[in-house]
Symmetry: C3
Subunit: 211 residues, 3 copies
Amino acid sequence: MFFFADLTHIEVVDIIEVLGTIAFAISGIRLASAKRFDWFGAIVIGFVTATGGGTLRDLLLDVPVFWMQASRYIWCTLFAFIIVLGFRKYLVHLNNTIFWFDCIGLGLFVVVGYEKALVLGYPVWVCVSMATITGIVGGIIRDILINEVPIIFTQELYAVACILGGILFSILYYFNIQLLVIEVSTAVFVVVIRFFATRYHIKLPILKGED
Amino acid sequence: MFFFADLTHIEVVDIIEVLGTIAFAISGIRLASAKRFDWFGAIVIGFVTATGGGTLRDLLLDVPVFWMQASRYIWCTLFAFIIVLGFRKYLVHLNNTIFWFDCIGLGLFVVVGYEKALVLGYPVWVCVSMATITGIVGGIIRDILINEVPIIFTQELYAVACILGGILFSILYYFNIQLLVIEVSTAVFVVVIRFFATRYHIKLPILKGED
Amino acid sequence: MFFFADLTHIEVVDIIEVLGTIAFAISGIRLASAKRFDWFGAIVIGFVTATGGGTLRDLLLDVPVFWMQASRYIWCTLFAFIIVLGFRKYLVHLNNTIFWFDCIGLGLFVVVGYEKALVLGYPVWVCVSMATITGIVGGIIRDILINEVPIIFTQELYAVACILGGILFSILYYFNIQLLVIEVSTAVFVVVIRFFATRYHIKLPILKGED
């Protein structure tokens, strides 16, 4: 079985969720500003980027939607908006930093998504699916809303990092490794894959057309 | 607590829902006709515009989806389709009237969305979120389906009217005002904000890009 | 009442679901390859095309999402991906065959969707809606993800086949025809409508714009 009884552990999970939410919201708000969205539009895109994956996951798992249980996800989005609004000029020089935010957010979301399916007793492949959905669906909805083909389908080794992270979680969990170790290992693994894929321009092969 | 025991009140709520549904469906069907959708496509766009917000709200709240409990939402959409089909030539001279339909529909949807979350015991910020989702998500799905950037994110002071309406509802409810008074005040408030925003071209500031 | 106690019947339903899933996934993966998606993107589009309609149906009906209960839908998608990857050169000469796949998939999905609402005791118009949603929503999400206006709204007599199939199911069920007969009749009817509509270029009238 699986326990969240350790208060310190809960706090760690909370903190990583907050950090991930802010990181994803910033990425969404920056893309919205490039499309000249108004303030409300930018905040919505930020919120949807950060919470879209978890929302679909919770609907599929038929559990209460996480962001309706605590207001901190909305505050995180507003905080991300203020950062983008106030530090716009600096952000352009901080693409590297923001890339790191995005990587860390992804690692954390994969862990949270996996565990939500795990505590409900789902088999491994559903847990991996939920980890991946939590990691990528926010970005997909963001790209649909700004009317672009989702970047994840053509350019970035993003989803594969989620899937491999989910598989690592499954293996470590099978061998009864301590939960916190599994979580940290999985998140770091996802960040490392995404970092190297971006650094060395590793991409998945393109599925060529038929002509 | 909150009661719907008064039959007259139920009927009022029903009537405003029907009017709002027809108004939103007309707006969707007209946009579909501008994109040369076929009849089925136009009806679907009309239906989704009218019911998309409430559907997402009901999925998030995990309550039965409203339009599956009564067939009138489908009849309203077909009625809206017949109006657009039969009075096409006149509609072009009636943009002002249709704008009013849209405003009133928005006001009514905000009230319905707020109350659905309120009766489930959710805190104020979830009620305001559900009011806003009910009001704006149908139009967002409509714009995704016709492959445009949702107009709400760039041009119209639409969502802010929902949010302010939700806040007014919260304040009046806090002071134990009679429910019908709250509902009418909120709906009128939303309509007035949207009217003045459009009349005086009030918009939210654009979030400028980083270049 | 309605029974699934007959094991042979369950197996038939399973087999037609597998065939339909593969057929729809192939159509999605081919479109993704035309847009130069990477392998992961193509697999996701295939999976979403095959399962998107059923997923929305299950969320609306508030029943467990079908593809989370058995891993075969993921295997079907991977199988479809291998077919497209390995037989790409032949597929271009096989458009006719793939069109048949798509027709048969549609017929089968309509039957499955109708029955899911029927066993829950919903009225006829909800059953027809769920049959249509099961048949068409996967293709709509596919077209949104590849950033096109959903083809179903402008070109193909696709949804009407679902609706008429659902109505035929309702009539036969009303007259207490044997279930397997109803299923086969409905599926064949949908395939026939779609075949003749495509062969003789039958389309729904376009809803003309207002200018």
